[in-house]
Symmetry: C2
Subunit: 308 residues, 2 copies
């Protein structure tokens, strides 16, 4: 492999994640060729202008030609169709991977579309609320976790190559099975997004409080939810549809816990509220200690300087 785990990488779907991989490979893996493709001609034109890859192909199959790694960066509901379009160009020994936020349904869709190929799904747990080809940047994966979910029959050498690829982009890699991934992400990512989308929707529907008041006084906590709720709607629609069972299970537990706090408020039970509010600090400390968030108050937001 002479240094880099792959000689040529094809990125399919040039939004925030795909674009960031394009930047990152060029930044951290000199000598590796990057080919990009997006089904949208406007996105391809932007990608060319932004230099997201060494070459941007105009159809999927030719984008895959000669690459030993193909990474699908499309919404999880579009993985199957994207893989079918790539199939004619994919070489037999190439690794096919992706960046989707749910893994069970993607593994099934890719295995069905590309039988006999080296399909090894993965999920870098990284992103921002932005989307589109100009949202990407090379350091998106630095110090973030990437979860690789190899199927049972995956070739260990191919898995090792994919792991080395993500490590070269700055990520820390963990492997687990797809079902477990989907449960973990249901709680650390999918449920938080569902709740954020809900509360922002609730706030915009009130009669007694105007939308402009909600905006003005959002610094009391609400504004944090609006950032998450500004994420790409297509991507998130697909996540909820593809990880339905795990999301509904976590939602059920959340609702039970919320009902308990609701009851404590109604009854004026301050002790229960205090106990619940106290035990949540340890998790925040753990996240800071593990380097998974900015330790400064308010994420070190710039607005305290008055520039806000």
């Amino acid at each position: 492999m002479s240094g880099a785990p792959f000689a040529q990488v094809t990125i399919v779907g040039l939004g925030l994640l795909g674009g960031s991989i394009g930047h990152a490979v060029q930044a951290y893996m000199p000598g590796v060729r990057v080919v990009g493709y997006d089904a949208d001609p406007d996105v391809r034109a932007k990608a060319r202008a932004l230099g997201l890859a060494h070459g941007i192909a105009d159809d999927a199959a030719s984008a895959a030609l000669g690459s030993d790694l193909v990474v699908l960066c499309v919404p999880v509901g579009a993985m199957g169709a994207a893989a079918v379009a790539l199939a004619p160009g994919i070489s037999a020994d190439a690794v096919i991977s992706d960046v989707g936020s749910s893994k069970g349904s993607v593994a099934r869709a890719l295995a069905e579309a590309l039988p006999g190929h080296h399909v090894i799904p993965a999920h870098p747990v990284a992103g921002t609320e932005r989307s589109g080809p100009d949202a990407g940047f090379a350091t998106l994966f630095v110090n973030r976790w990437c979860i690789v979910t190899p199927p049972e029959n995956a070739a260990p050498a191919k898995v090792a190559q994919l792991v080395a690829f993500w490590e070269a982009l700055g990520a820390r890699v963990e492997t687990m099975d797809a079902d477990h991934h989907d449960k973990v992400l249901a709680v650390t990512s999918h449920l938080p997004h569902l709740i954020a989308y809900t509360i922002v929707g609730t706030a915009s529907d009130l009669e007694q409080v105007t939308q402009s008041e909600v905006i003005k006084y959002s610094a009391g906590g609400f504004r944090d939810f609006t950032r998450i709720a500004a994420s790409d709607p297509t991507m998130w629609r697909d996540v909820f549809l593809s990880n339905r069972e795990a999301v509904l299970e976590m939602l059920q537990r959340f609702t039970e816990d919320l009902t308990e706090l609701q009851k404590a408020i109604r009854k004026g039970d301050g002790d229960t509220l205090f106990d619940q509010f106290t035990r949540t600090r340890a998790i925040r400390r753990g996240i800071i200690e593990m380097g998974q968030d900015d330790a400064r108050p308010d994420f070190g937001r710039a607005d305290h300087s008055g520039k806000g």
Copy 2:
């Protein structure tokens, strides 16, 4: 008033908010004397070491002596008792205000404890997840809104003085009645905190997903909630108990909306999910345009540099 609206300000309760007012008055209102008091002797010692005020008194009544503004910065459930302790030292023409997150119950508690005094409650919509005397800083209120809720019989000159005080600290001031404040904050602050505390609790109780996995993969959205859920438990217990009705009303609406999304996920209704996820972006845009949040992706968090 010769420039400054007040000659001497007493701050009671020297945590994040009280400490920040102490810093801010010294930074932005030169010539105004600041006296501090906290019921906890350890906090008083720290406040002296940190220079949060020109003088720190050892009992409440003497802290209030000679001040024309007294600001209570204690948890909303402790306002009444704190006011009773101050009463012997408060002069007849002093303005009594506070920084509590709920206003109806505070207005009643202060009016009862200090009959005949100029009670004008207020709420600067500012803060971080930190608490304690060393968490404060002078710019906390810059470009943030402060909501003043004057009772019907408030003297207009006194209200104007309090407004001028907050403007001098960098805040933008709005006045409204206490009941309306409590409805607005129930949605922009109280409900978001309740939900954040709940989801962090839910995540820490799971059997299939370990706490260390929750921490590791928190960058998918969860970590944002842990910041809010690291806020002071006593303060928030009191907020929910004192603004019970408005919080329960907003919670009811949130639960209805969440149930609708839950049903859409269960039924595989992607159109409803997409529509709901699309309409939430406008509010985020409004918040950014109004300067109420950092426009950079991910709040401009430092972690993309790899220092995280």
